[in-house]
Amino acid sequence: MNENDRELLQGLRALAADGPREAPGHIEEQLRAEFRRHNRRRKMLTWMPVFGVAAAAGIALGLWLHNEKPKPAPVPTVVAAQAVAPVAPVGDEESDAGFYPLPEAEALPAVENAMVVRVQLPVSSLQLMGVPVSEERADASVQADLLLGQDGLARGVRLVQ
C-alpha cells in the first residue's frame, strides 16, 4: 500500500463515519414526478390494444345494427323426401293423379278398394306420415288428398292448390 492508497482509505473511512446522506429534497421530488409520469405512460400503452379492440367491436356492432333488415317469416322446408316419382293408384286411369307414395305405404298390401279423402291438416301431420318437414311451421295447415286403401291407411298424398 503506498501513500496514495492510505489517503484514499482514510477518506473513505471518514466518509463512512459521517453517517447516512440523502439527496436534496428537490431532487427527490423531481425523481418522484418523473416516476409517476413514466408509470402513467406505461399503463396507457398496456390498455391501448384493449381500447382498440373494443372500439372496433363497437363500430362493427353499430354498422351491423344499421344494416340489419327484418328477416322474412320462417317458411316450411322439406328436409328430405323419399318418394321419387308420381305413382298412380292401382287401377287408376289417371297416371298423373299426382299422388306421391308415402314411405309408410311401401310395405302395405296392394290397394284393392281405394278411397280418396280430402283433409285439412297441419304440416306436422305430414311429418307423422313420413314426410320430413321443418318444425318451424309445424302448425301451419294445408289441404291434401289422401289415397286410402281398403284398410283405411294412407298410400299416397297429394297437396291441393
Binding site: V75, P76, V78, V79, A80, A81, V84, A85, P89, V90, G91, D92, E93, E94, A97, G98, Y100, P101, P103, E104, A105, E106, A107, L108, P109, A110, V111, E112, N113, A114, M115, V116, V117, R118, V119, Q120, L121, P122, V123, S124, S125, L128, M129, G130, R137, A140, S141, V142, Q143, L146, Q150, D151, G152, L153, A154, R155, G156, L159, V160, Q161
Partner: protein, 248 residues
C-alpha cells in the same frame, strides 16, 4: 338420378307447401275431413257377394316408449253384380287422429251403371261421378327395398280358405342413415273365393305396425237398397275426382 328425383320431389312438395294459404289452426297431429271420394282402384268382382266389418289397428311406438294406437272401422258390402258400398268412419288415418268427432262417408260404386256416389248424410246429397275405365295393366306402388316373398300356404282365416304370403323387404344398412338392416314385413291372407284380402299385417320399424282384418263375414246377397241413392237425396253430377286436385 335418385338424388335428383328426391330433390325434385322435395322441391315440389316445398313449393306446394309454400303455396298454401294460412288456413285455420288445427291441433297438432289432427286432421279435419273436407270430403271423401271414390278412389278409382276397385276391381269388379261378380258372383261373390259378401258383407263384412273391416277393422284396422295401427300401433306406433315412439322413441320415449310411448305408444300411439288407432283403430278404424268400416262396413263393406258387395253384391253379385259387383256393386260395392263402403261406409267408413274417419276417426283416424294411420298415426293421425280426426280433429272432431269421427266423420263418416258412404261411397257406392256401381260398375253396372259406371258411376260412383258419395252420400252426404248432413246435406242429403249424393255426388255422382262416372267411373274411370278399367285399366288392366295398372302400375303398383314402387317398392324400393329388396323383397323376399314366402308362400305361407292355405289356412282358414275368418272362416274362409285363404292363401298366405309373407313379403320381407330389407333396407340395407346405411341407405337411410340406418346402422343396421331394417326388415319390413307384410303378411297377407287372400280369399280366392271372395277375391279379397281377409287379413293383413304389416310391421315397419320406421312407422309402426298395422293389422287389418275382415270380421263378421257374411256371404249372403245383401239388400239391393244399399246400392241405391236414398230417395230423399239430391243427386249432383260431378267430375271424376282423380282427374285433378282441384276437381270439385
Amino acid at each position: 338420378m335418385r338424388g335428383l328425383s328426391i330433390i325434385s320431389s322435395a322441391g315440389l312438395i316445398t313449393a306446394s307447401l309454400l303455396a298454401q294459404p294460412p288456413g285455420p289452426r288445427i291441433g297438432r297431429g289432427d286432421f279435419a275431413v273436407v270430403r271423401a271420394e271414390f278412389g278409382g282402384a276397385n276391381k269388379v268382382v261378380q258372383g261373390a257377394p259378401y258383407s263384412a266389418q273391416s277393422v284396422t289397428q295401427f300401433t306406433q311406438t315412439l322413441a320415449n316408449g310411448d305408444h300411439i294406437q288407432r283403430t278404424t272401422t268400416a262396413s263393406v258390402v258387395r253384391d253379385s253384380q259387383g256393386r260395392t258400398r263402403t261406409e267408413r268412419s274417419f276417426s283416424a288415418i294411420g298415426a293421425l287422429s280426426a280433429e272432431k268427432s269421427a266423420a263418416r262417408s258412404v261411397i257406392i260404386v256401381d260398375p253396372v251403371a259406371s258411376k260412383s256416389y258419395v252420400l252426404d248424410a248432413e246435406s242429403h246429397t249424393a255426388r255422382s261421378t262416372p267411373l274411370p275405365a278399367a285399366r288392366p295393366n295398372a302400375r303398383p306402388f314402387r317398392n324400393s327395398a329388396a323383397a323376399k316373398t314366402e308362400d305361407l300356404g292355405t289356412q282358414v282365416v275368418q272362416g274362409l280358405s285363404a292363401q298366405g304370403k309373407r313379403i320381407t323387404r330389407t333396407i340395407p344398412a346405411g341407405r337411410e342413415g340406418n346402422e343396421k338392416e331394417i326388415d319390413i314385413v307384410t303378411e297377407t291372407w287372400y280369399s280366392p273365393d271372395l277375391q279379397v284380402v281377409v287379413m293383413s299385417k304389416t310391421s315397419d320399424p320406421r312407422f309402426g305396425d298395422s293389422v287389418y282384418q275382415l270380421n263378421a263375414i257374411t256371404r249372403a246377397e245383401p239388400d239391393p237398397a244399399l246400392f241405391a241413392v236414398p230417395s230423399d237425396y239430391t243427386v249432383k253430377e260431378g267430375r271424376p275426382f282423380l282427374r285433378g286436385a282441384a276437381a270439385q
